[in-house]
Each structure stands twice: as structure tokens, then as C-alpha cells.
């Protein structure tokens, strides 16, 4: 069963790669991702660019409306995602709790509805 982890965190200033805390977080991420790969659960994982780069699309009455920024202006935004394949929720939750974002923000674990997506 596939689960999508939505990684929420308060969006702050861009991280400084020389910062000690950044290095620590980076190491924790590398470790967790390595373990996920090792266990064969990891499908995909990536951070997102800040919401300032987001564009929201709505189509109403055949007209496409574009707005600059996220759909909702809230403090915590999705800052990244992880897609995993797990046997059940408990396994997914175990992995989610090891994601560094769970310590600073939170991880929303969403089961993916299995569908046959059209292949390109």
C-alpha cells in the first residue's frame, strides 16, 4: 500500500548550508532515506521550493484563474513530500516518525488510493 507523507514546517528564511543545525538535519535526512531505501519502502522523496514560488491554478466556467502563491496563506506549508510503499499503516507511521520534519513541524500520512493511472 502506498502512502504519501506531506511534510509540514513553518517556512523560515532560506537555510544556511554552513549552519550547524542545517548540517545536523541534512545528516538525519540522509540517514533516514538510506534506511528507507535499504528496507525497500522508498519510492520518491523531495523538498519543495518555498511557497513564494508557488502558483495556484483554478478553472472556473472554462476560465483559468492563476494566483501567485499557495492556495491558502497559513503559517505551516507543505515543504516536501515522501512517497513510500508499506505493508500497513503501522509500518508507514514508524517511518514517518523518523523523518526529521516530524520533529520541527509535522508529517501528515495519507494513504494513496490505488488507481490505474493512464501511462504516458
Amino acid at each position: 500500500m502506498k502512502y504519501l507523507f506531506l511534510l509540514y514546517a513553518p517556512e523560515g528564511p532560506p537555510e544556511d548550508p554552513d549552519d550547524v543545525e542545517y548540517a545536523e538535519t541534512y545528516r538525519a535526512w540522509a540517514q533516514t532515506l538510506a534506511e528507507m531505501s535499504e528496507a525497500g519502502v522508498l519510492i520518491d522523496c523531495a523538498p519543495l521550493r518555498p511557497v513564494s514560488s508557488a502558483t495556484t491554478v483554478r478553472v472556473r466556467d472554462g476560465r483559468t484563474l492563476l494566483t501567485d502563491g499557495p492556495a491558502a496563506e497559513v503559517r505551516e506549508q507543505v515543504g516536501g513530500y515522501t512517497l513510500v510503499e508499506c505493508d500497513d499503516l503501522d509500518e508507514a507511521l514508524r517511518w514517518a516518525s523518523r523523518i526529521p520534519s516530524a520533529r520541527t513541524g509535522w508529517v501528515e500520512v495519507r494513504p494513496v488510493l490505488p488507481t490505474r493511472a493512464p501511462t504516458p
Binding site: 500500500m1 502512502y3 503501522d90 507511521l93 494513504p111 488510493l113
Partner: protein, 405 residues
């Protein structure tokens, strides 16, 4: 229910199947006679009904997960003929059933489910209460409860909450959630939060059954034994807790001859065995406190000093104002009324706790014992103004009457 759910992995399908099986029994048994092992027969039929349902769903391409589980379990036997066949082989026999039962309890008490629905779901799926009965417990319309249960079952299915025991790293935490649910079922029965009856005997019985079942399945967990001991020791006083008018009888005024000695003896033995493991926890401590009461032949013989110590220890596990208020009463009853009142007054300093009727009731009682009758009456009136159950209200009126106000 448990073994069918394990098979199909979906509570809703299993529930329907069990109902169908019962219906089949009602139709067939009077004609064909009751099978040698009715329970096994029911399980077998329910499993086949469930597999039929799963196949129907699978054909519609809706539940790939469930369909995947179906294949290896069911061999050549066609569902059509199997319905009337007597069960064979492993169905409903031996240790498998107990493990299924335990897995079902853990599933219903999963922390990913909203806490109040865990209790409802356990009552439904494990204890077999009807939705209407559960609705009555929670004081909501049946339709509301049905909706809540459906939502919970859907979450179990969609989120992939597995029907199996959690693995050791998560077990302790998950067990806490399970024990909590069993305890809530009991307290809901022991002191019905609303309504006019003080004890809902059926819920108390269910909780004791659940705890007993857990104890059998997890014999090495001292907190499980502690919970069962606590329920037995508390439940032993059931007959003495309510007088013929349905009014609450306080512990010290209870006729101790009505206490069930067998339940007390069992509870005490369980507690002793649990404590020997050297891993104390809140349920063992609560049980130890209950045992202090049950071993006292008369209310005056109660070892309040020991109870105060146990509450102090309990505070380390469960730092809550409820525990602190109970400790205050124990300290007062052990001889130091002023110290007890001081603890209660410091709790009353918090705005939120001032709206808690039990705090005023405890204070009123200590003031009454201290001979400060006017203040006691005032505290009883304060409690009365905060919303009491009808039985509590009658109790307060009697107390006020005796205080002459």
C-alpha cells in the same frame, strides 16, 4: 467477528458476513438441527459469506488489497456448497482464535483513530453491542453513532490499519491505548456519566471480560494484570454502591457484607503476582489503592496513610489534578485534615478546576469532618451549581439536609 475480519481484512464486510451467518443459522438450525459446534459453524459460514462479498467487490475491481488476501486462504471449496457444510480443519479452534481476538482489540484501539470512537468500536466489534446500545452509552442518536462507526471502519480500511498485534517497539504504547479503552468501558459502566442509573452493569461486565481476555492473551504484562485486578476489586463493591432507591452509597457507608469476596480474592492475588514483576504502573497502583479499601473489614480500619503514599507514587506516573485531589483526601483521612484541605485549596486556585464538581464535593466532605459546617454547606452548593448527575444531586441534598441548611 475476529476470525472473519482477519480473513477479509475489512470490519464492515466481516460484520455483514457475521450477520448473514446468524440469519442462516436462524433459518437452517430449526430444520436441519443445531450443529455439534454451533460457534465453529457460525464462524465457518460467516467466513464463506465474507469471501463471497469480497469476491463480489473484487469483481467490481474496488478492493484489490482485500482480494489479494483472499487467494491463499480459501482452497478449492466453492462458496455455494460450502455454506451448508459443517466446518472442517482449523476454523474457530485453538490458539488462532485468541490471537485473532487480540489483534481485533488492538485494531479497534489504534491510536490513529479518534479516542472516543475507539471505545465505541471496541464495544461494537469486540463486545458485540448493538449500535443502538452504544449510542445510549454516549448519549447520542443511533444514526449519529452509526455514522461515527462507519467513518472509523472506513478509516481502518482506507488507511491500512492492520489486523495484527503491533511489534515490540510500538507494543507498549499501543497496549496503553488498549488498556485505556477497557478502563473507559468500565468507568462508563461504573459511574454512568449521565442518566439516572449509577451503574450500567452490562458495561462493567464487558470491561471485566475484556480485561480477562487480555490477561489470558498477554500473561506477562503486569499492567494488564493490574487492570484486571483493579476492575475486579472495584466491581466487587457494585452491589453496595447503590441503595434500593438508586442512590449513591459512599465507600465508608457501604455494607461491606455485600462486597463479593471471590472477586476481591481474585483481584488481590492478581495484583500480588503483578507487583512481583517489579514493573509498577498506574493500573497496578490504582489496584493497590482499591485493595487497601477491600482488605479493611470496617471503614475505620482503612490504611489511609498507605493510600496517601500510593497516590503520591501514582502522581509520578499520572500527574493529574484528579490524582492530586484523591491524595488530598487520603492525607486528610489519615489524620491531617488541614493538610488535605490545603492541597485541595491549591488545586482550586486553578480556574479550570474550580468548575470541576468533584473538587467541591471532596472539599465539602473534609470541611464537614473538620466541623466547619457553614463552609461545607457552601462547598456542596458550589458543586450543585456545576451540574451533577441526578443521583449525585440527591446525595448533595441529603448532605445539606444533615448540615441543617
Amino acid at each position: 467477528m475476529a476470525s472473519v475480519t482477519r480473513l477479509v481484512g475489512d470490519l464492515a464486510t466481516a460484520e455483514d458476513a457475521v450477520q448473514d451467518a446468524c440469519l442462516a443459522a436462524v433459518q437452517q438450525w430449526p430444520v436441519q438441527g443445531v450443529p455439534a459446534n454451533p460457534r465453529a459453524w457460525l464462524i465457518s459460514v460467516a467466513r464463506h459469506k465474507a469471501l463471497d462479498a469480497v469476491r463480489r467487490d473484487a469483481r467490481r475491481g474496488r478492493r484489490e488489497l482485500v482480494a489479494a488476501r483472499e487467494a491463499p486462504t480459501d482452497g478449492a471449496g466453492g462458496p455455494g456448497t460450502a455454506d451448508t457444510d459443517p466446518p472442517t480443519g482449523s476454523v474457530g479452534t485453538g490458539a488462532g482464535t485468541a490471537a485473532d481476538e487480540l489483534a481485533l482489540i488492538f485494531m479497534c484501539c489504534h491510536p490513529a483513530l479518534e479516542p472516543s470512537v475507539r471505545v465505541a468500536l471496541t464495544l461494537r466489534a469486540v463486545c458485540g453491542l448493538a449500535t443502538a446500545e452504544i449510542a445510549a452509552v454516549f448519549l447520542v442518536p443511533e444514526a449519529t453513532m452509526a455514522k461515527r462507526l462507519t467513518r472509523a471502519k472506513r478509516k481502518i480500511r482506507d488507511a491500512g490499519i492492520a489486523l495484527r498485534m503491533p511489534e515490540p517497539p510500538a507494543l507498549a504504547e499501543r497496549l496503553d491505548a488498549v488498556l485505556r479503552v477497557v478502563y473507559l468501558v468500565f468507568t462508563e459502566g461504573h459511574k454512568a456519566s449521565a442518566g439516572d442509573t449509577l451503574v450500567r452493569a452490562d458495561l462493567c461486565d464487558r470491561a471485566v471480560e475484556l480485561a480477562r481476555c487480555l490477561r489470558t492473551l498477554l500473561p506477562d504484562e503486569p499492567e494488564v494484570a493490574g487492570l484486571l485486578a483493579l476492575l475486579l476489586l472495584t466491581d466487587a463493591r457494585r452491589a453496595a454502591r447503590v441503595d434500593p432507591n438508586g442512590d449513591l452509597v459512599l465507600l465508608e457507608e457501604q455494607d461491606r457484607r455485600l462486597w463479593r469476596r471471590d472477586a476481591i480474592a481474585e483481584g488481590e492475588a492478581l495484583l500480588e503476582a503483578a507487583l512481583r514483576a517489579g514493573r509498577p504502573g498506574p493500573y497496578q497502583l490504582h489496584a493497590a489503592i482499591a485493595a487497601c479499601h477491600s482488605t479493611a473489614a470496617r471503614a475505620d480500619d482503612t490504611d489511609w496513610r498507605q493510600i496517601a503514599l500510593l497516590y503520591a507514587e501514582l502522581l509520578r506516573h499520572e500527574p493529574s489534578p484528579v490524582v492530586e485531589a484523591n491524595r488530598a483526601v487520603a492525607v486528610a483521612m489519615a489524620g491531617d485534615l488541614d493538610a488535605g484541605l490545603r492541597i485541595l485549596d491549591s488545586l482550586g486556585g486553578q480556574e479550570r478546576l474550580r468548575r470541576w464538581p468533584a473538587l467541591h464535593l471532596a472539599r465539602a466532605d473534609l470541611l464537614r469532618r473538620a466541623g466547619r459546617h457553614a463552609e461545607a454547606a457552601q462547598a456542596y452548593r458550589a458543586a450543585r451549581g456545576l451540574g451533577l448527575t441526578p443521583a449525585e444531586q440527591r446525595f448533595v441534598e441529603r448532605r445539606l439536609g444533615r448540615l441543617g441548611s
